[in-house]
Subunit: 443 residues, 2 copies
Amino acid sequence: MKKDVSLDISLLEPHVTKDKLKDLQTKVSSIHKSLWNKTCKGNGFLGWLNLPTEAEKTFGDVKEVAEEIRHDADYLISIGIGGSYLGARATIDFLSDPFQKQNVLFLGHHISSDYAASLFSFLKDKDVYVNVISKSGGTTEPAVAFRLIRQELAKKYSDSELQKRIIATTDAKKGILHDFAEKEKYRRFVIPDDVGGRFSVLTPVGLLPIAAAGCDLQELLKGAKSMQDLCEKNDNVLDNPALTYATARYLLYQQGKNVEVLSAFEPFFQYVGEWWKQLFGESEGKENKGIYPTAANMTTDLHSLGQYLQEGERMLFETFVRLGQTYAEISIPHIEKDPDKLNFVAGQTLSDVNENAYLGTKYAHCDGGLPNMTINAPARNAFSLGQLYYFFEFAVAVSGLLMDVNPFNQPGVEAYKKNMSALLGKPGFEEQKAKLDKKIKGE
Amino acid sequence: MKKDVSLDISLLEPHVTKDKLKDLQTKVSSIHKSLWNKTCKGNGFLGWLNLPTEAEKTFGDVKEVAEEIRHDADYLISIGIGGSYLGARATIDFLSDPFQKQNVLFLGHHISSDYAASLFSFLKDKDVYVNVISKSGGTTEPAVAFRLIRQELAKKYSDSELQKRIIATTDAKKGILHDFAEKEKYRRFVIPDDVGGRFSVLTPVGLLPIAAAGCDLQELLKGAKSMQDLCEKNDNVLDNPALTYATARYLLYQQGKNVEVLSAFEPFFQYVGEWWKQLFGESEGKENKGIYPTAANMTTDLHSLGQYLQEGERMLFETFVRLGQTYAEISIPHIEKDPDKLNFVAGQTLSDVNENAYLGTKYAHCDGGLPNMTINAPARNAFSLGQLYYFFEFAVAVSGLLMDVNPFNQPGVEAYKKNMSALLGKPGFEEQKAKLDKKIKGE
C-alpha cells in the first residue's frame, strides 16, 4: 500500500525513448523551476501546487460540517458544474460501494428538466442539505438549480431550517453567490482566488461533498502531499513520473498523436476519467493546440472501442491505469466435467483474470501500432487517488507549458455562455441576441 | 410525437454542402441497393435490416418471460458484454427515472473483482433471475461471471429453482452456452446468425432485459420499423437522413476530420452514446481507417471538454442530439429583489434554458471552426429511440461501405482476447503464452 504511483513507458518505443526524453531535460527543468518560483504563464493560478499542505487549514471545519450532514440528513445535494462537480463525483464514485446507498446526489451539472423533476420528486420525503458551489454565482446551470431547489425546500423547511441546511462554497469576498450567502447567513466555505475550477478538488469545493459521502479526506490529502513532495524536489524527466508523463505526451503530440485514450481496468475509475478529461482538455485545448482527451473503461470498451483501438486510424496513443490491489478477492471455482469450458482458469482470482486482460491488451495494442504507457497506482483507495490527482495536475501544467499555452485559463468556455445568456435575454447582451436571432431565423 | 428523426446539416458548411452530397448520389445509391439486395461486403450479416419486422415473431415469448421476471424477481442480472450489454443498458437508462429503483443490474461487462463482490453481497437477500447473453459462450467476461453467479445462487436456490431462474440468450444450434443450457434445461432465446452483436438490440439480446425493466417494446419496435420503411424506400442522399448523415461524415473524414463528438443535451442519453461508440467504432475502425467516436454529455461537458471543442485542434466535428420534448416542465420562479440575479429567466422553463444552451453552443462551436450538425429526435420516448437505433445502424452500414471496409466484422477484437486466453493458460495457446511471458519478463 505504501508504493507510489509510477509510470511504465516501455511500450511507447520507438515513438518515445529515454534518449528523446533526456533531450528535453533542459526545457523541462526550466518549466519545473518556473512553476515552483511562480514565473510561468498563468502564474496567478498556481495555488493548487500547495493545496495538499494548505488544505489542512480548512480541513477541521469541512469535517465538522460533513459530520453534521451525515448525522442530520438523508442526502446532500451538491450543486455545481465542471470543476465544482467532477472532483467530488470522481472521488465518491471511485471509493464507494456501487450497490450501497449513495448519500451525495448532484444537481446543476446540466439543465435537464426530467432529471430535476425526478430528483425533486424523490426528495419529497427525505431530509436534505444543499451545498451550492460556484465562485461567482453567475454560472447559469448551478444558479438556476439553486433557485429551483430553494423553492422546493421552502415547501417543507422554515427559513431558519433552510439557513442551517444550505452551505455555500464561493469566492472569499465578492460575487452574486457570496453576497447572497452573506445576506441569508448561510455558512460559507471559500474557493481560493489562485485555484482554477479544474484544480479545486482538494479545496472545500471537492472536500465537503467528499467528506459528506464518508470518504477518507486525511488519506486523500496524504496521498496528494506525498506526490507534491516528489514533484517539488525532483525535476528529472526520467525520475519524476509526472514529468515523464507530460514529456512523453508532448513527444507523441509532436509526432501527430493528437488523441489520448485513458484506459482504466476498474469501473470505479469512470468519473476519474471524466475529471481527467476536463483537466487535460481545458488546460491544453487552446490556440488550436492540444491532445484531445478520451477515456475508456476496460474491459467493457474492449468490446466497443477495442476494434478501433486495434486497427483504426493511428493518431491515437493510450495510457492505461492499473490498480495494484482491490478490496475483494473472488476465486473462480472448479466444476466437475467443465460444462462451460472454464476450468483452465479455476483457482485463479477475478483480479488475476483482470490483470491478464490488461497485459494481453497492452501487447495487442502495441502490436497494432498503438503506442501505450501505464500508470501504476497502488490500490483502489484514497491515498492512491490523492497521488493520482496531484500527479495529473502537475503533469498537465508541465504539458501545457511545453505546448507553450497558458494551462490555467479557459477563455473558450465563455463563447457558448455568452450566446446562451444572449438567447435567454440577459441584460447587456442585446446586440448579440439580435445577431443570433437573425442566424436562427435564417435557417 | 409523430414527427420523425431528422438531420440539420446547415452548420457543416463549407465542409459539407448539398452539392457535395449530391456529387456522391450515384455511389450512395449503389451502396443502398447493395444493402437491400444483400450483395455488399459482409452480406452474411444483414439480418438487422429487417429486425423491426422480424422481432414481432419472438416478441410474445420475450414479453411473457419478462412479465414473469417482473412479477417473481426483485432483480434481473443481465450478463453480457459489448453488444450483449450496451443496447439493453442504453435503452433502460434512456427511458427510466434515474431516482427510482432500477430492477435490471449488469454483470460480466468487465472483470472487476470489487464490483462483483459488491453485487453478490447486495443480492444476498434479494430474489434474482439471471439472463446470460453470449452467442458462443466462449467470451471470458460473461462466462466467468456466469460461473460465479451460479455458485452464488446455488447457495439459496434448489436446482429446479435455478433452472427456472436462469435464461440463456445464445446461438440457435451450437456453442458452449447453447450446449450447457440444453443440458441444464434453461429456457433459451436465440441470437440470429446473421445479426452481429452491435446490431442486436432489437433481438432478444436487448429485448428481454429491456422488457424486464418495464420499457415499452412495442413503441421501440414501431419507431425502428418507421425508420426501416424510410431507409428501404428512399435512396436520396438529401432526403433520407441516415444517408445524409453517413455521406456528410464521409466528406468530413476525407477532409481530415477523423474524430466525431456526439453531444447530447440530456443525461439520459449517456449510454446511448456508449452504444453508438461501439456501433461506429467497431464498424469503421479497421484497415487503419475510420472516424474515432467520442461522446459528450451537455451541458456538463461544456464545462470540461468545452474549451477544447471551442479552441483546440481542428480534427474534430460534432453531431448534436436534440430531444424535442421532455416529460416534465419546470418553470423558473420570479423572486422579489432578484437576490441571485436570475429574474431575466423567470417564467421560462428549464427546457427553454436547455434549448438555448444547445442553440448557443452550436453557433459558438461553428464560429470556433468546429463543423457541426444536429440530429433532431422528437422526444425522450421509446418510439424516438427505436428510430434512432435504426437510423444509426443504417447510417454506419452506408458509412463503412463508403470507406470501403466491411462494416459487419470485427477482426481486431480477437487480438487482446487471444493474448488474454494465452496468459490465462487456455489450452491451445501455449505458443503464444511462451512469447508473451518472454515479453513480460523482458520488462
